[in-house]
Symmetry: C2
Subunit: 572 residues, 2 copies
């Protein structure tokens, strides 16, 4: 038992006051307001606030294990995450999810897992596993699982897919909320999507979208992550106003939000969704709160969005400094600067301002890359003629969307060649679950003048994806990834470098700083080869994400994301 006095931020009554705090067995036993006088002061130097909770994140995107994630998160005042182990589930199924849970349990940090609802993401790709409704039920039974993870298959929900609806019903059976994911889904489609009880959404990119969902009963997660930053679109309010066809139908919240800018009640959570290692080392929700305040959100509202609100929604015994709750708290210098001085979980100090006071146990890495070494001819596209017209994936820097383009390309010995003038490079997805197939196509926008980059992080099935100038270089880069049991790699005649991600081809046992440093080196090398994308490996990883339009590639071929069917590479 420990007892001390401190200024606390009370997120229930939205105020600060000095209090006596007694903690027993990791739980607040006493939280009593006290008075302080001129001569004495409270024991704690700084302000005691509840630890932050990220209510939607995929830890795999940080390329580190849960334990390593915890070690970096506590530096930023995060004491809990609601995490969807969707990526590892696509590679390793339930075994992967359980490995995450097992690793997470070994560190003093609150991991609240959700049961991945959409594995695989589509039938147009080869994944390492399938989670059917029985598998989902197996997970939902676990105490460590607090919700059914984001239901990304909105067409399946809307069109009454039986297996999808079985999963949704199971969440109700086990009394666990269902997270949503419904970008731009609206009107009657949204109604059908929500009907099974889906209660959150983190895909709103403009205030009108958030408003419609809010009115229909969805709790709004404002995303401030590495891949998507929606805060500006939501908190700035400017856009969307003119899109409203029948404002009167939007009901009473409409007036509050649009006529008077009383938008506080519109938003529920701030989440990161994906946090890449280079971003994660800089900060987490601590930075998001300050960013929100910069947009005019009240500091207490912003803090509520990452403390009491997630706790209330997911039924977690934390998120507020109140008697009976778990003693997860952070000492900050002030609300203004929000510098994290110390972090406590269950009453124990886990970060003392300098060092993290627990170690990250390693996850045993089993090779999940079941692919034979590749030869250059695996990446050749043959055409019988001097020149041909091809469909091209045109990527947009910092966006998951792609555009459909075409290009005329020359052949050499019957093999279609990349073209530096048009910036059309070769792209391929190498099946890595034992099938050994390779799908080849062309891509525009990467800017590489030579060499190749490859990665086993390729949403959502995480086959090996590669972009390069020549087949030879692509084979070299891919083989480097295979040798490393997964990871990201760059190959050129000038340098060869790689970050091994031996855990499911997604994560490293190393710490976030090491991983971030290696990612930075790889970025610098890609830039040295001519790539001007901010985050070339991330952009490449989303070239395989079929559910986002307009043109993508899976291990099975070039994919038309609008028609939702495969398409030919060579047009004529």
């Amino acid at each position: 038992m420990m007892s001390f006095t401190a200024y606390i931020l009370d997120v229930v009554s939205d105020t600060v006051y000095p209090a006596r705090i007694t903690i027993e067995n990791g739980i607040y036993k006493e939280v009593s307001p006290i008075t302080v006088n001129e001569r004495t002061t409270v024991d704690v130097d700084g302000l005691m606030i509840p630890g932050f909770i990220d209510s939607h994140i995929h830890i795999e995107s940080s390329m580190i294990t849960p334990a390593q994630f915890a070690r970096i998160a506590v530096r930023h005042g995060t004491t809990g995450v609601v995490c969807d182990p969707h990526e590892i589930a696509n590679v390793m199924g339930i075994y992967g999810v359980e490995a995450m849970i097992e690793n997470a349990k070994q560190v003093p940090f609150n991991f609240y897992f959700t049961a991945p609802s959409c594995v695989p993401a589509t039938v147009f790709e080869t994944s390492g596993a399938t989670l059917n409704a029985d598998d989902v039920e197996y997970l939902l039974k676990k105490d460590e699982i607090v919700a059914l993870a984001e239901m990304m298959n909105f067409p399946g929900v809307i069109n009454g897919d039986e297996e999808v609806h079985r999963k949704l019903k199971l969440a109700h059976v086990y009394g666990k909320p269902i997270d949503g994911h419904a970008p731009l889904v609206s009107r009657e489609d949204l109604d059908k999507y929500l009907e099974p009880g889906i209660s959150t959404d983190h895909e709103c990119s403009n205030v009108l979208e958030a408003l419609e969902k809010k009115l229909k009963g969805v709790k709004i997660m404002v995303r401030d992550g590495s891949s998507a930053m929606d805060m500006e679109g939501l908190f700035n309010m400017g856009e969307g106003k003119s899109n409203i066809e029948n404002p009167e139908q939007l009901g009473l919240i409409y007036r509050d939000v649009f006529e008077s800018k009383i938008y506080s009640p519109l938003f529920d959570f701030i989440v990161s969704d994906d946090k890449h290692p280079d971003d994660l080392i800089k900060g987490h929700l601590n930075l998001s709160i300050k960013k929100a305040v910069g947009f005019g959100i009240d500091i207490l509202k912003a803090i509520n969005m990452v403390t009491i609100n997630p706790a209330y929604h997911y039924n977690l015994n934390c998120g507020a400094i109140v008697e009976g709750a778990q003693a997860d708290y952070v000492i900050v210098d002030s609300l203004t600067d929000l510098n994290i001085q110390k972090t406590y979980i269950g009453g124990e100090c886990v970060f003392d301002g300098e060092n993290v006071l627990f170690d990250a146990p390693e996850v045993e890495a089993h090779n999940t890359i079941n692919a034979s070494k590749k030869t250059p001819d695996d990446f050749d596209i043959h055409y019988d003629g001097k020149e041909c017209e091809v469909n091209v994936i045109e990527c947009i820097d910092g966006d998951l969307l792609t555009k459909k383009a075409t290009a005329k390309l020359k052949t050499k010995n019957g093999v279609v060649q990349a073209d530096l003038i048009q910036d059309v490079l070769k792209i391929a997805v190498v099946e890595r679950y034992g099938g050994n197939t390779v799908a080849n196509a062309f891509v525009k926008g990467f800017g590489l003048k030579k060499g190749a980059i490859a990665s086993s992080v390729a949403h959502d099935s995480h086959n090996i994806i590669v972009v390069g100038y020549t087949s030879e270089e692509m084979a070299q880069a891919v083989n480097q990834v295979i040798d490393n049991m997964g990871g990201i790699a760059i190959y050129s005649e000038d340098f060869i470098e790689s970050l091994p991600l031996p855990i499911a081809g997604l994560m490293s046992n190393k710490d976030a700083f090491d991983v971030a440093e290696k990612v930075a080196t790889l970025h610098d090398m890609a830039a040295a080869l001519g790539c001007q994308l901010k985050s070339p490996f991330m952009t490449m990883a989303f070239m395989a994400l079929l559910v986002i339009p307009s043109i993508k590639i899976s291990d099975k071929g070039l994919f038309d994301g609008d028609a939702f069917e495969f398409m030919d590479v060579i047009i004529n």
Copy 2:
């Protein structure tokens, strides 16, 4: 049991969502988020928010009974008040407090009473009763009493007055919080004042004062009432900054408030303290919330200050729409306009948008005015000479403070005369508890050119106070008050008018509209006689409030509020 769907404002998670509400025996049995779709909508047209709670008010200042107060408060969305029956206690003691409680119980409204701690306010006046520590204990034992009322006797606390400290200790014995009242008390004095566990203050008039108290553990009540409006000084922040001598001593909140204007956590409640009938009919906390929003306070923070925060502090089972709480709620058209559509208490509709659905039982009026009729010579001040110099109370419009002035006045037949040129009128306090004494003096600032105004509302002892031009007119006005068993009255050769307040000389059994209308008529008449004060009867009532400097009058004589002793009227 009733069940319906509505958009609710959830003050715990600071958000709005549609929910299914089930109420049983006046308690929320179910509050579950639901989804709403394009074609259907929720049952309730409007937004359901928790009913407002005024955490510090003296109902007597509204000149109506608790039951009548309830009838007007529910029109404004108020469902509960923490009220200090301090005024009636000064007149009638415990019997008066119990009469208030008894009347309050007969209407469906949440009256949370506090036990008056300072009756009488000083030993320099005659009150109708004394509440010693035993009396306070008798009250603290009652379930209807939720706290020890504002401890106004800060010198008594600071100097260790035994009886005062006995009362404070009793609050701890009965586990009830202690309200404070410590205008401009600071530094070591504030420390001594707070030491016995006084936990609120509603007297802060500038942000620096609030800041010091907040840092020392006081919950800050921002006052927005008829007599005192501190919201501008507190929420506008502008002033006070330069007064800080040693900013670093103010600690961490200092930086948040002054460097970045993050002032949300500084304030806890919005209260009205006193609400005169003419103000009360216009609005209550509903208007205060809008006013706060106008000053830049987040709407959710403002609403928390009159819902969950008072409930949390005073341990009341209301203030939020959550399972297990009492179903006290209001339907508003929108947060923007905050127009009250309907008000419910314990699940029952008490205001349907047009009519209040309960009656106000009368309080039996016993005459508490024990004073013989007065004759003009009761108000004469004699001086043997043609002219004399006198001390004069100089009132300031809208302020409880007064200034010390002097004037040279002529005599007529040995009686000192008022002087219209200098605007020096006669003022007197008529003891009304059987002693039949009259204290006479002079006052500046009322502007009456003829006639007199009198009132049995005269803080805190509520003797009869009168201001007039001639002794004859003063006697007429006072006798009118005596005939009416108390109240306010105006007398001149042109008109005689009065508002009887037969309950303790403080309250009417009539409704707020009637009382407000009569007050307005009396104000118009006073203006017609030359008085330019905004609220002449209120200003007059505070001329007897000895605890506020610099010069006041009690039934025992002219009082020097700085030296805290009596002073002579005639100087030489």
